[in-house]
């Protein structure tokens, strides 16, 4: 692949790709009319898209360190924005977020604010300065700014803890979707997911991941928006749902007060399959205290600015200026999906609970609902459940239960859309989970191969040998992640949120103060990273084992405690020890202006 030529042709290449994908959807729709089975459509969607990603991964193969680690630093702003958006929006965002909003309403939507607001911090505090630094990895910045192998190694430790927590959740998500779409047991599907992920990243490193992530973004955004618009139009809720659902939101509030939120007894709830939940919280009313909302949003925002797989995407832009703009584009592409999730939750909820709609099930007789096709399908998949707790023969709001994933996966079917849309949604979820897993595995493998192997163990290693080590690590970390994912220890969303808390506990202040506070020195940074991570981890274990916690900090926001400890330690220890030498201070000055050579130079 000729790089210069290739970069200029990007809009054309991805334009053709998008057209081809839409063509594929149409062909599948026609095939469905002609009698293709639902299962065959599901397999075709997942297999076709994964094949395309693997092809892109193969075409992007490289033997150069610059291309492997930072995609040759020539990814244009808008395309880097798309790649970051795919990198960022995980299986959790795609499959679980609308479900969370559906069940928990306002309190849950703190995640929407947190997962977007963090980009303001990325753009203003970090990304452009780290780009100017010219590093390959996030620990590369820590190691050079503060100096010394211990600082570098501490950063690798924090990065690995946070990213590994995150990646098991993503491999879990690819496994879930692959097992549903291909109809194979989860334990095997996890490894099929893993092999697809490695096909994208192994040969081309960051370059391969970049161009597959752009392709994955296009698939996932079409797969998310098309059903939302279609359902909205079919229900007559408005042709542009984002601006036209006010009546529907109000109607849900009306129905909620009509039905009331009846609390089920513990004995009744024990009969509900694990993982399913009922609607117990108001849809649009403010149902959380300000601190509960703000602390969750704040933890997610600071976590965003500390997660290395996001930060390293901005190392691939051609300039500092481009890095800044690219953050804006990333958030724009993320915004397209995130602003649609509450709309999907609204449409999904209304179509299920409104007795005036033909799809509504509340108020119908139990036997009637049990006879509906889609209810039987999703009940079998363990994602839907009804039970007549009060014995009156009809379904009440508190007698209907659903899995979080069902909101995205089942709503098209409930609303009566053709099966081709469900196949498309499966491909979208797969794209979302794969792209994030790719970015994370690469972040860990690059940090270990570049910072631990090359910088600490064998600084004289040749490029070829370094890249072999990087690829071996990629496979090892991938398999470790898949093995843990196959054990199904934690849910997808919980571990994603923990990853943010771990990252902010250990990395937020060492990164930010590295640029914004010249006086910050090595001892302070090491104390901040290790102390912050330890404090955060301690708090999590304490709360999980029955500790009461303090200041309303929960197991989902423990990063607030961890990062506060990190800040205090970093400032106190820095001030108690000698200030950084002249060369380091000069380096910080250079980082602060865009012009001039990158600190680490081109290798």
């Amino acid at each position: 692949m000729k790089q210069g030529n290739f970069i200029d042709n990007l809009p054309k290449i991805y334009g053709i790709y998008t057209g081809g994908f839409i063509g594929f959807i149409i062909i599948m729709a026609i095939a469905e009319q002609m009698g293709m089975t639902a299962k065959a459509i599901g397999i075709a969607f997942v297999a076709f898209t994964v094949f395309i990603y693997a092809l892109i991964g193969y075409l992007s193969r490289t033997a150069q360190a610059d291309a492997y680690y930072v995609a040759g630093r020539q990814v244009p702003t808008v395309f880097n924005g798309m790649a970051t958006a795919a990198d960022w929006m995980s299986g959790a965002s795609f499959v679980a977020m609308a479900g969370g909003i559906y069940f928990k309403g306002y309190g849950y939507m703190a995640l929407l604010v947190g997962w977007t607001g963090g980009y303001v911090l990325v753009a203003s505090l970090l990304a452009p300065y780290l780009r100017k630094f010219g590093c390959y990895t996030v620990p590369d910045f820590i190691g050079t700014r503060y100096g010394g192998n211990l600082a570098r190694f501490s950063a690798v430790v924090v990065l690995t803890v946070a990213s590994f927590t995150y990646v098991t959740a993503q491999i879990n998500a690819t496994g879930t979707i692959a097992s549903v779409a291909l109809d194979i047991p989860f334990q095997y599907a996890v490894y099929i997911g893993l092999i697809s992920i490695l096909l994208c990243s192994m040969l081309g490193g960051m370059r391969g991941v970049t161009w597959t992530q752009v392709a994955q973004y296009i698939v996932l955004i079409i797969a998310y928006l098309l059903p939302v618009f279609w359902i909205s139009n079919k229900m007559g809720a408005g042709f542009f749902p984002h601006f036209m659902l006010a009546d529907e939101v109000a109607r849900i509030g009306e129905l909620e007060s009509q039905f009331g939120f009846i609390k089920n007894s513990a004995a009744d709830l024990a009969t509900v399959p694990k993982g399913l939940a009922g609607i117990t919280k108001a849809h649009s009313a403010v149902n959380a205290t300000p601190w509960a909302f703000i602390s969750l949003a704040l933890a997610m925002m600071m976590g965003t600015a500390s997660l290395p797989h996001v930060m390293m995407r901005y190392f691939t832009t051609p300039s500092v200026k481009a890095a800044r703009k690219s953050v804006g584009w990333s958030l724009f592409f993320i915004f397209l999906l995130y602003s649609s999730a509450p709309m999907l939750a609204t449409l999904s909820k209304l179509s299920l609970i409104d007795p005036n709609l033909s799809t509504g099930i509340i108020g119908k007789s139990i036997a009637e609902v049990q006879a509906i096709d889609w209810y039987q399908n999703w009940n079998q998949a363990n994602l839907m459940f009804i039970s007549d707790f009060n014995g009156n023969g009809t379904v009440e709001l508190n007698e209907f239960f659903m899995g979080g994933k069902a909101v995205v996966l089942a709503t098209p079917e409930i609303a009566g859309l053709p099966y081709v849309i469900s196949g498309l949604v499966a491909a979208g979820g797969m794209a979302a989970a794969m792209s994030t897993a790719d970015g994370l595995i690469l972040a860990i493998a690059n940090a270990i191969s570049h910072d631990v192997y090359y910088k600490i163990i064998d600084p004289k290693a040749e490029t070829a040998k370094r890249l072999v080590v990087a690829r071996v690590l990629l496979v090892v970390i991938g398999f470790a992640g898949a093995t843990i994912a196959a054990m199904e220890i934690q849910g997808i969303l919980g571990s994603v949120i923990w990853a943010f808390d771990f990252a902010m506990s250990g990395l937020f202040f060492p990164l930010v103060l590295g640029v914004w506070w010249k006086r910050a020195n090595r001892q302070g940074a090491i104390a901040g990273m290790l102390g912050g991570l330890a404090a955060g981890a301690w708090y999590l274990v304490w709360v999980r084992t029955g500790g009461s916690g303090f200041l309303g900090i929960t197991q989902l926001t423990f990063g607030i405690f961890g990062s506060a400890v990190s800040l205090v330690l970093m400032v106190v220890v820095s001030l108690l020890t000698a200030e950084p030498d002249k060369a380091t201070q000069k380096m910080v000055d250079e980082v602060r202006v865009p012009s001039g050579k990158p600190i680490l130079g081109k290798q």
């Binding site: 939507m109 303001v120 009546d247 403010v286 909302f293 202006v593």
Partner: protein, 86 residues
């Protein structure tokens, strides 16, 4: 004060303004979530609900592009912008 110090002072000022706006949309509004949700806002949604769905998210997008443009102007003013050789 050297050119570089002036550049950094101005950059820091821009950062403070950016973070202040960020604070309003990410935290400030939600301090008064319950009160504001009583009032009907854009497109007929309750105000706080609209901010969590669209308003704050959109404000962040605009804020980042605005920040990037302002920072570029500051870099140019002091002669620290990159040469266009790539």
């Amino acid at each position: 004060m050297s050119n570089q110090e002036k550049h950094w002072e101005k950059s820091r000022g821009l950062l403070m303004i950016t973070l202040a706006i960020w604070f309003v949309f990410s935290i400030g509004i939600f301090l008064f979530g319950a009160e504001m949700n009583e009032v009907t806002g854009p497109f007929g949604y309750p105000w706080t609900y609209w901010f969590t769905c669209q308003g704050s998210l959109g404000a962040f997008v605009i804020l980042i592009f605005w920040f990037a443009n302002r920072q570029e102007k500051i870099d140019e003013e002091f002669g620290f912008s990159e040469r266009e050789d790539e």
